[in-house]
Symmetry: C2
Subunit: 226 residues, 2 copies
DNA sequence: TACTATACGGAACGATGGTTCCGTTTGTCA
DNA sequence: TGACAAACGGAACCATCGTTCCGTATAGTA
């Protein structure tokens, strides 16, 4: 469901003459805003009020909007910065000697990234922000890099041939976007291991027995302490 | 992240003298509200404005609130009605002759239910409503029924012994709550099949080959037509 | 130190959505 | 049919949140 965020021209605040001189205090503030936004969006995803970001950065809302024309622009900036290393990693993995292992490792890292930066997971579902061309491009790059990785892993016989990139995307999105209380870190690792088991040919349990056999995580049944 | 919904006393509107006489028009309206809410929450989950429910029911908002003290109460009423048959189904499955097959069937049905009634899937993640004791009780019943089903299926050697109810809950929540565009019906079925493969001992591909081998679903890369 | 372009803060605005309130309508019963 | 409790509708209220605006403060420069 769409929130009230409207789309507009994107990109870093106007940027007239891209290397225009920023006053020292302005540079400091911009850095603080980015830091605060990273901290908060990592935990709360896109659902973080601009006011809170401004407060943590010890800055007024106006200053945030002077640096980023909309909340979506700020969100996207952080998102792309997080996405780029993943694309590189996927490309490197596709060129690895053992694409099967590289694939499993990549999936694990991807899951960790999603968990460590919730906004990334939010971006994979309808989070209410209209993500624009830039985002969709880099995200397309990630998909195609992972596709190649998947193909190579399938070619060398480590991954089921009937598995598609759609399967991988959907399952990663699912695992990554689940309530972090139902899906605590160890639970998430178990699920990633199970998913990998379902994709791999042959060997079951990519996780060590000690971890896959650990005592079950407490099960949340719905209500939560407010 | 919590929306503006506050918690209060729950249960159907005051209900002073639980079988109190309802005027004919009131009964009609209540039925229409439930029908409208079911229709809308099935598609949009909890993120449906009360005004829209009232409008579809051809009733004023006041009438909605006379029947259900809060939006959460209305949500819960519908949720519980959906959950009860699932609990029964899980219990029946646990007593089936072949718990392994019964388990897989149950998981498939559960996934369908989640997909057909989005509010159910919303309930499995932090949807912003404080779900109270009643909800948490019935949901606990579901968990324990599925636990027994899982145990039986494990006892008869069809399901991996190291799989826990936490794994099953988390994976179902993940699959069910993913963006319905990334996770369209056929994609969802594929994922359920993969998950089942990862849980089962022996046989791979609980889906017929024709279905698991169908052409890959189009991959969504992020942005969406507004 | 004085001047000014740049940047700042945060009050105010507008949209959304849950909830309440109260004047009006209507089903029910005598 | 008349009277009244029950129920109705929807305007209004309040809180949240994205965004804008403008009077004020200050970094940089002469």
């Amino acid at each position: 469901m769409s929130t009230g965020i409207t789309e507009r021209e994107q990109g870093e605040a106007g940027s007239p003459g891209s290397d225009r001189h920023l006053r020292a205090d302005a540079q400091r503030n911009r850095a603080r805003i980015l830091e605060a936004a990273t901290t908060l969006m990592a935990v709360h995803g896109i659902d973080v009020p601009i006011d809170e970001i401004a407060q943590l950065a010890q800055v007024g809302v106006g200053t945030v909007y002077r640096n980023f024309p909309t909340k979506a622009a700020l969100f996207e900036g952080l998102l792309m910065a997080r996405l780029e290393p993943l694309v590189s990693a996927a490309r490197a993995a596709a060129d690895a000697d053992e694409p099967g292992e590289a694939f499993v490792d990549f999936v694990r890292n991807l899951s960790d990234e999603f968990a460590n930066f919730k906004a990334l997971a939010d971006a994979m579902v309808d989070s209410g922000v209209d993500l624009d061309a830039a985002k969709s491009q880099i995200s397309g790059e990630l998909i195609s890099a992972v596709s190649r990785l998947l193909e190579r892993a399938q070619e060398c016989g480590r991954i089921r041939p009937d598995v598609t990139i759609g399967d991988v995307s959907a399952m990663m999105a699912g695992i990554s976007h689940t309530d972090p209380i139902l899906m605590d870190p160890s639970q998430r690792k178990r699920c990633v291991a199970l998913v990998c088991d379902s994709l791999l040919i042959g060997a079951r349990s990519v996780l060590p027995r000690s971890e896959i056999l650990q005592s079950p995580a407490p099960v949340r049944t719905g209500s939560r302490p407010s």
